[in-house]
């Protein structure tokens, strides 16, 4: 049995004006377990807190109930008071007789009666309270960044600059991501490579950063502060630490007809290749599907020309296991496939291209060395049609495309249109749009310049179909404002394809037990207040893996994610919330219901040997809650059919006791 003290606060006249505080204190004195009951003008004042501290000492109280304002206001205060007096802070319960009683009721007898009932409920609860101690877990002071695009690069740099080691895992042979493929960036039109490559070099040279390129994460175990991650480093058949990136091997390689993924297949590369001049790490990679030596042992030219002796045809995939305190997901995006959009003839004509392909076509390092030429015949196009919202903003049941707005297309299309008109004033540029969305700093000004200064034809309406005919593309579209159907003979059609999360994100989310929305974007812990944290503690989000984003937004989110990681890694120990779920192993069936509703992946299962009631032993699967990960929502307690799962601080027995006390 507890020894409970009850402290009724007047809150000046805030409570005492509508509630007879003496009567409340007197009535609650009679409740089971109550050994002391008093009232005072301001319990939260120093004098009031002293009354509590003295009573705890004098009456050897094991629990206290403060009838006062909302626990959201002073629960922390009174917990500290209790702790100062040597009482476990979780032995404190608050009966909210101000916000939920004196302030909403006018009649003194009614208010008093309700205050007594609320007090009884708190007493009933505290009778079943148990001292709680927050759990502690150590923090591994190393971060993992998954994805080496601008998001991953920025996050890694920021964390590393704060002094914590960071590893970047990138599945491609080089970091850089999508931004490395871009030509210019809106709305300032500075060159992407000029601003990105210095950062890539910074990453490469940073003593706190390791890059695992051509690698992927295959296994994640553990929890916040203590992740165990397995990384698979694909064999690139070139010793990374020996290769100097001179490129001699590349120029000698006889296999020259491998579609170049960096230029989106618009030109070819060799079987041994360096994706682009500023690649980081700048080392060659052999494509095992193209290399004759690896496929059938015939060739070996590259090994012969490599003066450094970096070529190793026998190299195997390698696994690296490392511990991390925090994980940042920066897996980025891709354009959706255009296969389902027959109307735009993407698969029929080489001259119907996506915007990213257009970027490569205008990039000085691209397949045409920056000259805008048609992919089909290398002729300069005179009429270019840009189509917006291809696959974005589609109805969910349409089964092609995405429901959301891809966010970046309006701006990059304006950029493309403007740059085209700037470089080639003889070109007619049409942009078919549904809405032009420009909410960003200098964005609308940028778009207006495209229209006003560069004479881009913006037409409200959609392209209905594109039909290749001879060397032209017959574009049929509607102009909604002039209520006409247009027929344009275009030379080039550029589709602003919707973007979607990278395909690697879904299996990664499963490994991380991080939640995703139906579009496979990672979900945030809170859409407004915790935008760069995943609900899974210790997992953070950076860049387009969380939702479509442009570069400035990505970089700012990357910085935010980094600061969250730094905040976490700066701690030596993590202190948890003690009000968490726990499972009674003797009752748990291991049925997995709780695991399925846990938003944090805090529940795992272990096979344990038990002595059964019939004196046999059996190995049973039982749930185990990770106290460092559980946030204490209680979803599992209701999903659990056997009642094995309970929540400390809000235990089933406590809530039932409150119900009973209220319904007396």
């Amino acid at each position: 049995m507890q020894r409970i003290g009850v402290f009724v606060c007047w809150c000046g006249s805030n409570i005492a004006g509508t509630v007879d505080v003496h009567a409340v204190a007197e009535a609650l004195k009679l409740e089971p377990g109550v050994v002391f009951s008093t009232d005072y003008q301001y319990m939260c004042s120093q004098a009031g807190q002293n009354i509590i501290k003295e009573a705890i000492a004098e009456h050897k109280l094991t629990g206290i109930v403060v009838c006062s304002c909302s626990p959201r206001m002073h629960e922390a205060t009174f917990r500290k008071t209790a702790a100062a007096a040597g009482l476990n802070p979780y032995m404190v319960e608050i009966a909210n007789i101000r916000e939920q009683c004196s302030w909403v009721h006018k009649d003194m007898p009614i208010g008093t009666e309700k205050a007594i009932i609320l007090g009884k409920a708190a007493i009933a609860k505290v009778n079943l309270n148990a001292p709680l101690t927050p759990g502690e877990s150590p923090v591994t002071k190393r971060a993992l960044v998954i994805g080496g695009g601008i998001a991953g690069i920025q996050t890694a740099l920021d964390i590393a600059d704060a002094g914590f080691p960071v590893d970047i895992v990138e599945k491609k042979p080089t970091i850089g991501g999508k931004m490395a493929q871009l030509d210019k960036t809106f709305p300032t039109l500075d060159c992407a490579a000029c601003i990105l490559t210095p950062k890539m070099v910074d990453v490469a040279q940073h003593d706190k950063i390791r890059i695992f390129s051509y690698s992927e994460v295959t296994e994640v175990k553990g929890f916040v502060g203590n992740f165990d991650v397995k990384i698979k480093k694909h064999a690139r058949y070139v010793k990374e630490d020996v290769c100097t990136g001179c490129g001699d091997c590349v120029s000698k390689c006889p296999m020259k007809k491998v579609p170049n993924e960096f230029n989106l297949g618009m030109d070819n590369r060799h079987a041994i290749y360096i994706p682009f001049a500023q690649a980081v790490p700048k080392v060659a990679t052999i494509d095992p599907n193209a290399c004759n030596m690896i496929k059938n042992g015939k060739c070996g030219l590259c090994a012969k020309v490599c003066t450094a002796g970096a070529i190793d045809y026998t190299q195997k995939d390698e696994f690296i296991e490392e511990k991390y305190g925090a994980i940042v997901v920066a897996t980025g995006y891709n354009h959706i496939s255009m296969d389902k959009f027959d109307e735009f003839a993407y698969n029929q004509s080489k001259d119907v291209i996506t915007s990213l392909e257009f970027e490569r076509l205008t990039n000085a390092a691209g397949p045409t060395a920056g000259k805008l030429l048609r992919p089909s015949d290398g002729v300069h196009p005179h009429t270019i049609v840009f189509v917006q919202c291809v696959g974005s903003r589609c109805d969910a049941c349409a089964e092609k495309g995405k429901e959301y707005c891809s966010k970046i297309c309006c701006m990059y299309t304006a950029k493309h249109a403007m740059l085209t008109r700037d470089k080639y004033p003889d070109t007619d540029v049409y942009v078919f749009y549904i809405d032009v969305r420009t909410p960003g700093k200098n964005f609308d000004e940028f778009y207006r310049r495209a229209v006003e200064e560069y004479g881009v034809h913006y037409i409200k309406g959609m392209v209905g179909k594109v039909v290749p005919e001879g060397n032209k593309l017959k574009v049929q579209a509607s102009d909604l404002l002039s209520n006409k159907q247009l027929h344009i003979d275009a030379d080039l059609v550029v589709l602003a394809a919707a973007i979607e999360p990278d395909k690697s994100a879904r299996p990664l989310a499963t490994m991380l037990t991080a939640s995703m929305d139906t579009n496979d974007f990672f979900t945030e812990a809170h859409p407004k207040l915790r935008p760069v944290e995943s609900p899974t503690a210790g997992v953070f989000l950076s860049g387009a893996c969380q939702g479509p984003k442009d570069i400035p937004e990505t970089v700012s989110q990357a910085g935010a994610a980094a600061s969250k990681v730094i905040g976490l890694l700066a701690k030596d120990k993590l202190t948890g919330n003690p009000c968490i779920a726990h499972s009674d192993e003797m009752m748990c069936n291991g049925c997995s219901s709780c695991e399925r509703v846990c938003p944090y992946g805090a529940i795992t299962y272990v096979d344990k040997e038990f002595r059964m009631p019939d004196r046999t032993t059996a190995i049973r699967r039982v749930a185990s809650v990770n106290p460092a990960v559980c946030q204490g929502c209680g979803a599992c307690t209701v999903a659990c059919p056997s009642g094995a799962m309970d929540l400390k601080g809000f235990a089933t027995s406590q809530i039932i006791a409150e119900v009973d006390a209220i319904c007396k």
Binding site: S70, P71, R72, M73, N96, R98, E99, Q100, C101, W103, V104, H105, K106, D107, I110, G111, E113, K114, I117, L118, A121, S515, T523, A525, H526, P527, P535, C579, V597, P599, Q631, G632, C633, G634, A635, T637, V638, A639, L647, F650, T652, I655, I656, E658, V659, D660, I662, C663, K664
Partner: protein
């Protein structure tokens, strides 16, 4: 009127982050609602076990209302989505057993919706008052 003589007893389960704060805001703004409403604080609406609801009715409650964050705003990201399914199913079952469906309710009240909290409670108390005493889920032993 006979009906009005019975003061109903209402148990309101409020999630700590939104609805309990919404109730506090109703207090801050001195928005009155009947004292028959007694609030129990839970971390999330998904902590509310159907057993608690039945227990309340057994012990003499005439109505039980569960308040949580608006869908999409759950502090724990998904708790209230589970609440929504569980309570939809439970309420449908109670109705199937012939128990007045108006006695149970789920309402989403954000921390900013003090006025909605008070209005909801006023409405719920009025609805339950009109139904009269809970007879179909009562335990006479508790009414002595």
């Amino acid at each position: 009127m006979q009906m009005n003589e019975h003061k109903p007893l209402i148990v309101a389960f409020c999630c700590n982050w939104c609805s309990y704060a919404g109730a506090d805001l109703a207090g801050n703004n001195r928005l009155n609602y009947p004292a028959e409403v007694k609030i129990i604080r839970v971390p999330c609406s998904c902590r509310v076990n159907p057993m608690f609801i039945l227990r309340a009715f057994q012990r003499g409650a005439d109505g039980v209302i569960i308040c949580g964050c608006h869908p999409g705003d759950c502090h724990y990201t998904s708790g209230n989505y589970y609440t929504r399914r569980r309570m939809a199913m439970l309420f449908s079952m109670l109705d199937y057993l012939g128990i007045e469906k108006e006695r149970t309710r789920v309402e989403w009240v954000s921390a900013a919706e003090g006025a909605k909290f008070a209005a909801t409670m006023n409405d719920f108390v009025a609805t339950v008052t009109a139904l009269g005493e809970n007879k179909r889920l009562e335990d006479l032993r508790c009414k002595k």
